[in-house]
């Protein structure tokens, strides 16, 4: 469903991704690992169409050329990225924001706007599922949220929007084990044979709950080694240097 060939990405005048290839099929879970600054976040931003990135090469999603689409058009197609540091937007109510986003998706797909009671029911279920305090719905997006609340709020948005490609940028950082479990449960709940997940992480603990089909090691803007879950375990046991020998 996602096909990347010889992609290079420039961010803040620096070439961060250089000649990267990646194929992700529906139903798969991919984990991307690597040292800080190797380009993991940039890769996700490029796929999501961040204004910060300038991309060259081939980037296709569901057989569509993504480079011609802006980030909202990509989101409508089903691309979702959770932000490592979610943006705080004062004054914009979280519930209202979610409803607007869902209606944009439905509009693009030729569907009627969502009906409020159904939307609220769905929202409440997901909130309970993730163990989020109801108050955040009344608050402005991410404003005054704790680190954990922000991450859960990203997953909540993902569960509501039901994307086809879920890209999660260090969703596990700063979470305690209970929060990590509920985040993992959220991911597992909505993924199916038609959707794919890309996880960017430093640790294996998330991968214990969301089992990756493929693990990639990113270095100097390229994928230099791919393997299955055992690669991630090797990394944890031996460290990058030994694995890359």
């Amino acid at each position: 469903m996602l096909s990347i060939k010889n992609m290079s990405v420039v961010i803040a005048d620096k070439k961060v991704i250089d000649g990267l290839d990646l194929e992700v099929k529906a139903g798969e879970v991919h984990a991307i690992m690597g040292l800080n600054g190797c380009g993991k976040s940039t890769l996700l931003k490029a796929i999501a169409g961040s204004y910060e990135t300038s991309v060259k090469g081939k980037l296709e999603f569901l057989n569509q050329d993504m480079l011609e689409l802006d980030s909202s058009a990509r989101a409508v197609l089903g691309v979702f990225m959770s932000f490592q540091n979610p943006v705080e937007i004062p004054g914009v109510n979280t519930t209202y924001f979610l409803k607007s986003a869902i209606n944009e998706l439905r509009l693009a797909r030729g569907q009627e706007p969502v009906i409020s009671p159904e939307f609220m029911k769905d929202l409440k279920e997901n909130i309970e599922f993730l163990g989020i305090n109801k108050d955040i719905l009344k608050r402005a997006i991410n404003v005054g949220f704790s680190g954990g609340e922000k991450k859960k709020s990203e997953i909540l948005q993902m569960m509501m929007l039901k994307p086809k490609l879920m890209m999660l940028d260090e969703i596990d950082s700063g979470l305690d084990i209970d929060a990590l479990k509920s985040v993992a449960n959220g991911i597992n709940k909505i993924r199916d044979k038609d959707s794919a997940v890309i996880l960017v992480t430093h640790y294996n603990r998330l991968l214990e709950y969301v089992k990756p089909d493929k693990v990639h090691i990113l270095q100097d803007g390229k994928i230099i080694k791919s393997g299955d879950f055992s690669l991630a375990k090797d990394l944890e046991d031996k460290g990058y240097e030994d694995v890359l020998k």
Binding site: G49, S72, L105
Partner: protein, 302 residues
């Protein structure tokens, strides 16, 4: 603005003459332009001005002791006219006035209004001003505060094309424990100009006054011009005073975040402008807020 159900009391002016009037007995209106409130009025009073010719007139609103009134004022029409309006608000001890003034003028109108506000002991005035139509609108208020009185002025200036809006407000803290809040937001489009001109003076030998001023501008187009003068004059040390002022464009990261959730660029900007305005529209009466939002073409969900 209000449906008939909500507004049973009104006074309509055309060319500053009363053309329609329905006021409770306790309210007297003199032809010299003086409206005197003797008792509390539970319902909103609706005042509408529709000048058609270049003209000048005045209105005086007096609230007697302990009287509590809500007023909604609308300035409409004034096609190709230059209008000067003088108004005076006199609040006796403990009186409470909640007033919204909306400039819903013809796009060719030039309007200049000067208000003199006098608050006696423990009186309180809440004022909301909305500028969004008329070629050039200037509103100046001069406020004098007595012991423990309180004024809260909020102004929302939404300018476009070559409109020029000037909001100026001068507050004088004459006695102890008086409080003032002057808060304005401006959203500028096209080649429009907005001026925020506030001066708050805390007089000598007063104690425990509180003065606050803030102005925030959102500039959406190249040609727009914002001029802010948040001035404070302090002649005593027993007080709390501060002001803040910002000018900026929409936050690109916030737009990008909304985009990444599938919201188009145009809608994302709309949402953010709405959020910017909404904070100020946090009015006491829900109805006024809803009508205002409808007026502005904004959705009023949540």
């Amino acid at each position: 603005m209000y449906s008939n159900k909500q507004v049973s009391y009104y006074i309509y002016f055309e060319d500053f003459k009363v053309i329609k009037l329905n006021l409770p007995k306790s309210v007297s209106y003199e032809s010299s332009g003086c409206l005197v409130f003797q008792e509390n009025i539970d319902l909103n009073i609706y005042i509408r001005y529709t000048p058609t010719n270049a003209s000048m007139d005045k209105l005086e609103i007096v609230l007697k002791k302990d009287v509590d009134v809500n007023i909604y004022m609308e300035y409409t029409g004034a096609r190709f006219s230059y209008i000067i309006n003088l108004s005076k608000f006199d609040l006796y001890k403990n009186a409470k006035l909640n007033i919204s003034q909306v400039y819903k003028l013809d796009s060719s109108a030039v309007y200049s209004s000067s208000s003199y506000v006098n608050l006696q002991e423990k009186a309180s005035l809440k004022m909301f001003k909305l500028f969004f139509s008329g070629l050039q609108v200037q509103s100046s208020s001069k406020v004098a505060l007595a012991y423990d009185s309180d004024i809260n002025i909020k102004a929302l200036l939404l300018s476009k094309l070559s409109q020029k809006y000037i909001f100026s407000c001068e507050v004088l803290h004459n006695e102890d424990k008086s409080r003032s809040r002057v808060y304005s937001k401006q959203v500028l489009k096209d080649d429009s100009t907005c001026v925020f001109d506030a001066r708050t003076t805390v007089q000598k030998d007063t104690k425990h006054c509180e003065a606050y001023q803030a102005s925030h501008a959102l500039v959406l187009d190249e040609g727009a011009h914002i001029f802010a003068k948040p001035h404070l004059e302090i002649y005593t040390d027993e007080l709390k005073a501060s002001h803040g002022s910002t000018v900026g464009e929409l936050d690109v990261d916030a737009i990008a975040y909304l985009n990444s959730r599938g919201i188009s660029e145009k809608n994302a900007k709309g949402i953010l402008v709405n959020a910017f305005i909404n904070e100020l529209l946090d009015l006491d009466y829900e109805e006024a807020k809803k009508s205002l939002l409808r007026l502005l073409g904004q959705t009023d969900e949540e």
